[in-house]
Subunit: 386 residues, 2 copies
């Protein structure tokens, strides 16, 4: 097991009715809050009104900042940061899914920086602080509610970059599974694929870490077990609960304490999203199964055998390669039952500029830590996913 | 899944050579440290000298406080607290196993309290603060390195009580698996049983929490897989690593986020220890398997079936009760391979005053949350363990 640090100071309030605490919790940080949210969904479900009322009860001044896009734009970060400075905001409260929370992290950092916040996302400048961040989660997917990461897109430069600082872990996050009841079929599928892919990024690794692998399998099994149940009955509390905290554990340190992030899937998907503005998980759904097929070899067969047997309940057998292939086939089949795309054409991406995409994805000689892939490799994977 | 809070602010530094960081880490909290440790083991292994040197390099004044007992006494807490007050200690550094760390938590709290620290452990007074606590772990067992709990014994009143406060989570803990190479065969077995029993206390629960159960199984499987390897080769780094972080995860919130602590095993063992000063895990080894046998019924068979199949790799079968029994038999067998006691007589406890023990253990009408046991039940379990 490799050396690692394990630290996560975000406080989680999980369960029915926990949103009621938000006013008092925010009040501990001050009297002015920037309320960050996306489009109309939190208004439709009544959460917006509820939060406003709870904050007003504590006499907290609310600076309203809605309209965050599903792939949050650097423009929103700039604008939100300026609002914080103008109104002396004490805490940035994100109400929404991963995009909204990611935006809040950028905004809270921009608020304490005089330059352009893209400096952080382009790794030019290190952040030296951020306003306190808090979240009310409405989508089980990205894990952003309990980590420091933030992904923001710059469509000018066609870049979608992930970044985080020691100051961007939320102080607290409120996770009420009932707030995900209204998540659509497709968005629920996206959440399932997103959180599974987070686990893949740690599970498929050259680092030997038995405990870590078993924990990864626990999270994957849970998501696979409850995903279809939530799709069948969107108001299944047990299913929504397990998916919600499963997606948190998938990217809060617990799934990857002794592992390096593999990287191929996320890096390549970010490039796809920056080209086509597709949903992150749609891109991941297309990439991961083809990537698995491509990297399966004598060198990786033991890991994929474990994956097949322990996660997908494929019967063990003497022909390890055969069992491994059956496991990958299960991934394809599972994604199909979720109605997720399996090929780029399912996303209406026809004749993509593969070389250009590959060049953006593979900035150094290779991409990926588990299996180091050259530009040629990535080209082949993309071709198989056409 | 029930509502829960999930929060653990301890920072873990895991791996070979991490102890080298201790000087600089302590320095962040001040210039005077109370160094708490047990008997001679950390001196024998050279860790004591290493830590002294690292602290002195940072010009940190060291107040030396060794001699903590395996079941730490309230007298040590009082004395340590007084030393902190006298020398204006800035941080309490525990170097050792769970007993030493538990003592450090009591001492750090006593340092900020004018009365008798037994007031905390007898639940008479709430603590309002503690000095910062840090640990260097030398035994994979109690999980105390990443939680707020502390168990202290008062032999005057024959009480061994668990307690913790919002201030007793260590600020940081350094976990180098190499520091457990010299742990004896018996102590290694104790650590295995202790951490397994922590997981049992959450796993056997009426709370339905699929994700939580799978994570519990991940931790138990790891401990069962690597326990015998560490006994066979005490310098097996992978084995020691997995046992070390496995025992941390067994009681840092990750194993029980959506569960209540069952309680029978720990509460009853604490009474046994307070009577006989036996090692905590020796008591647990005797109690848990007999407890499992006693509570197995039509009501609990599904859980024990899961336990048998998922944790002990018993073949699934139609006769659930039969499979469940096989699982419990595996626990007995496994403990035997560890050379752990299975009966009270193995601990030289002959003709114990069962009624007196039962009356101390069952303070209210029943004990245990998963299966509520009356005094009569506990008597029967103890009799089966004679």
């Amino acid at each position: 097991m490799k050396n690692f640090n394990f630290y996560n100071p975000t406080k989680i309030y999980f369960g029915k009715g926990e949103v009621e605490k938000v006013g008092k919790l925010v009040k501990e940080y001050g009297n002015t809050v920037l309320l960050v949210y996306g489009k109309s969904s939190i208004k439709k479900m009544g959460l917006y009104d509820q939060v406003i009322k709870l904050l007003e009860k504590e006499e907290i001044e609310i600076i309203d900042f809605g309209g965050i896009d599903p792939n949050p734009r650097i423009e929103s970060i700039r604008k939100g940061g300026d609002l914080c400075k103008k109104h002396n905001v004490d805490l940035v409260l994100a109400v929404g899914g991963g995009s909204t929370i990611d935006a809040a992290k950028g905004i809270a950092s921009a608020a304490m920086y005089d330059g352009d916040p893209w400096d952080f996302y382009s790794y030019k400048v290190e952040s030296t602080g951020a306003l306190p961040i808090a979240t009310i989660l409405t989508l089980a997917a990205t894990g952003s509610e309990m980590n420091a990461g933030s992904v923001v897109t710059n469509f000018e430069t066609k870049e979608k970059n992930g970044w985080g600082s020691p100051y961007t872990n939320p102080k607290f996050s409120i996770l009420d599974p009932e707030n995900t009841y209204s998540v659509s079929y497709h968005q629920t599928g996206c959440g399932i694929v997103d959180s599974l892919t987070h686990v893949y990024e740690f599970y498929f690794s050259n680092e030997k870490a038995y405990l870590n692998d078993r924990v990864c399998e626990a999270i994957m099994k849970t998501i696979i077990y409850y995903g279809p149940k939530a799709l069948e009955n969107p108001r299944d509390y047990e299913a929504r609960s397990n998916l919600m905290f499963g997606s948190t554990l998938a990217l809060n340190g617990v799934s990857g304490f002794a592992k390096d992030f593999e990287g191929f899937n996320h890096t390549t998907e970010h490039v796809l999203s920056a080209f086509y503005d597709i949903a992150h998980a749609d891109g991941l759904a297309v990439l991961a199964p083809h990537w698995m097929e491509y990297i399966l070899s004598e060198k990786t067969v033991d890991k994929f055998y474990e994956f097949a047997v322990n996660v997908w309940a494929v019967n063990p057998g003497r022909d390890k390669m055969d069992v491994a292939k059956k496991g990958i086939k299960k991934v394809f089949e599972f994604y199909k039952t979720l109605d997720m795309p399996l090929y780029l054409k399912d996303l209406n991406i026809i004749d993509p500029p593969i070389d250009e995409i590959v060049n953006k994805a593979v900035k150094n000689k290779t991409i990926g830590r588990y299996v180091q892939l050259t530009k040629e490799d990535v080209k082949n994977i993309l071709k198989s996913a056409i």
